[in-house]
Symmetry: C2
Subunit: 428 residues, 2 copies
């Protein structure tokens, strides 16, 4: 007998069907047993009379029964159990009640018990949305003529500054884990013009915040033959619009579980120069950031608040960051080389993406490397692309998990990662 | 003026257009200059009379001109250059002729000059097809109800045997790079039922072969509520059919560049028990593999030959490998526990995927761990999923690059990787 899923039951009213899944909850009232069965797509109320087997909560079972109308049950139907078999059962009792609407666990417990807690309906919702983010990111860029690339995560040299790299013992050599696909996506833009990558990046930073982890999935893109960095902002805006349209299309139940709403992505996301944004939040909210620092989390939060309150947007670009605070490959502004042709994208008060135009001329790059205190010889493999002429280009890197974290209003980005890695956590 | 691409020119016959791209080749015959311009989608013949600028090969240029019919040129059109500007040019001469149909370089040179060689039309073709493989793998599985997951690549424990792991210094701890997402995808199958992952895996193996690298992109999947491992084979067969259908749809030019043809994926891929396959290749080709080894590359090649010659298939499953040679989590056959409920998928004589049913009962898994010489306590985080009941499940891992390697008949899998990593190579 073919397996029927929770979401298909209404089609089988009056019919006998077979279901498989997990006992999410079980209650006995006299001779009547209520089994809440969980499958891939959700929950089903199943009712048995005088069952000879009483499966434990968390068991994996198979049951057959007739589909009956029941307005108070999910999907308006319930299954009257005819037969029930236990396929597998827990070898010990579940450590907490998995059937509550909210798990309400300490973060440590939530993550220590990850193989179990990801089975909770509300936790599953997070990763259904995460899946949509990943798929729709690729879809949007494919439609815009981008090609997906996969670049190495083990590097022979610690580039982009040298600090914050995890070291790897690579046979007899020392190697490093990629902090970003930056150099590789640029080299690929020199060949394929428009590229994107979805892959892990590794940051050896001793953060203890709700927005940082040491390994995450970066959504990267790089495009050649741009005129200015606004070409990049336009593409990123289209990508964000597609991601949220797809979430709205596929994940209404998951959004509802968190009382979350999909933001409207403006046709043109408002853009503020960093210096203007700092002045604005000082005037409006009395929050002052020293002239020589770029922006801090509270500053981002207030810029987000300003964008929402005054510009009617959940998104805002911050542009023209100081050249000194950006990586050596960042293109400086022609008129004022102390600021860059780059941007951060702020979503609901948190930076989710950083991008901009890159330097494409060999000599300018060499001089910028030196200005940043690097020895160009250490960058030979990367400079090759420039020696043989790069087109004008730029792109972005975006934190995939931060999108879901802010969309659902989670307490930390770690909740949006299946098995997060932080300074202390390597397990599970 | 908007940029026009090589593939769009025929639409603009008689019109003046603007193109940007790279000078793939340039020849001067008297006062006439032929510029072969390369853009993202291919080559265009452009003709100029008495040009005042003569760009170097490899330069990035912009030109405007009129589109004219020219039956001997690509797409049946050429561009009569009205104006030409050099945007960027090489700072030194290209080290080899990039305009030949075949680069014909030593592998070392091909890879040392990767930022340059990926700009070659025939090399670009490889990565256009690779992109299709990645996109269509996800598409096929999404259609079949699978959810994409992303699991950590830095692990707290070297599992699955302990050898062949790269070590990472993780703050004050020792960590390891994931050899496969095996444990994580199983834990996720316990929650989401059907999952897949596209991500890097790292193997610290001292191979020097044409089929191995130390970092590659693994195409993984895991599915719960299976009856037997043939349920997995059926899904994998559908996935392969979709991948090759999409390549046939999108990549005819790229296939033609290699004289390659897309294989027909049989509705049911032939399946041979390993012991029978060994007997067959001994009888047919006189090649004997000792009873106590599973199969070697020459054996795989001959099994592939047998499948092609006698079974009319470019694909063949090998099943029932010895339990001793498979990982501890592999489900043994009920009737004969010395063989497993697993398979390898051979494509044109090379193993591209390994899969099978996994043990789902806690006690059986503990006993298998012990039998394989492991201490179950080291697997606590993984065993948690089983303590709280796993459904019957299984899946596969597949080497993405091997598919392209064999499809195009490349000399080594390294040619199918943008920036491959082998025992000696960490750069570029």
């Amino acid at each position: 007998m073919k397996r029927t899923y929770s979401t298909e039951l209404a089609k089988y009213l009056g019919k006998t069907i077979m279901m498989e899944g997990r006992v999410y909850n079980i209650r006995k009232l006299g001779g009547i047993t209520f089994v809440i069965l969980q499958d891939q797509y959700g929950l089903t109320q199943c009712v048995g009379e005088h069952l000879d087997v009483l499966p434990k909560t968390g068991s994996v079972i198979r049951l057959t029964g007739e589909v009956k109308a029941e307005p108070r049950a999910p999907h308006g139907v319930e299954v009257k159990i005819a037969a029930l078999n236990v396929i597998n059962e827990p070898t010990e009792e579940l450590p907490f009640d998995m059937s509550k609407n909210d798990l309400n666990l300490q973060l440590t417990t939530l993550l220590d018990y990850r193989p179990l807690t990801i089975r909770h309906e509300k936790v599953k919702a997070i990763f259904a949305i995460y899946d949509t983010v990943i798929q729709s990111y690729a879809e949007a860029l494919k439609k815009l003529g981008f090609q997906e690339i996969k670049t190495p995560k083990i590097l022979g040299a610690a580039t982009e500054g040298g600090s914050n790299f995890f070291k790897v013992k690579y046979f007899e050599q020392e190697a490093f884990l990629a902090q970003s696909p930056q150099f590789y996506k640029q080299m690929c833009a020199g060949a394929f013009e428009r590229v994107f990558e979805i892959g892990p990046v590794f940051r050896a930073e001793k953060h203890f915040t709700t927005r940082h982890v040491n390994e995450y999935i970066s959504l990267d893109a790089e495009m050649a033959y741009i005129k200015t960095f606004s070409d990049i902002q336009k593409v990123l805006t289209k990508v964000m619009a597609h991601i949220f349209a797809q979430i709205a299309k596929h994940n209404q139940n998951e959004l509802a579980a968190y009382g979350a709403t999909v933001p409207a992505v403006p046709k043109k996301i408002p853009s503020l120069k960093l210096a203007d944004a700092k002045r604005t939040i000082k005037e409006k909210y009395g929050y002052e950031i020293p002239a020589d620092t770029d922006i801090d989390p509270e500053g981002e939060r207030l810029v987000g608040r300003y964008a929402a309150e005054e510009l009617g947007s959940d998104f805002v670009f911050l542009t023209h960051y100081p050249t000194d605070e950006r990586p050596f490959y960042t293109m400086p502004n022609k008129k004022d080389p102390s600021v860059t042709e780059g941007f951060d994208l702020i979503f609901r008060g948190i930076e989710i993406a950083t991008g901009g135009q890159r330097i494409h001329k060999y000599e300018q790059l060499i001089s910028s490397l030196k200005k940043h205190g690097f020895n160009p010889e250490s960058f030979d493999f990367y400079l090759q692309a420039f020696k043989y002429a790069m087109p004008p280009h730029g792109g972005w890197g975006m934190g995939s998990e931060r999108i879901v974290y802010k969309l659902l209003g989670l307490e930390t980005v770690k909740e949006a990662i299946l098995f997060p890695r932080d300074v202390k956590r390597l397990v599970p």
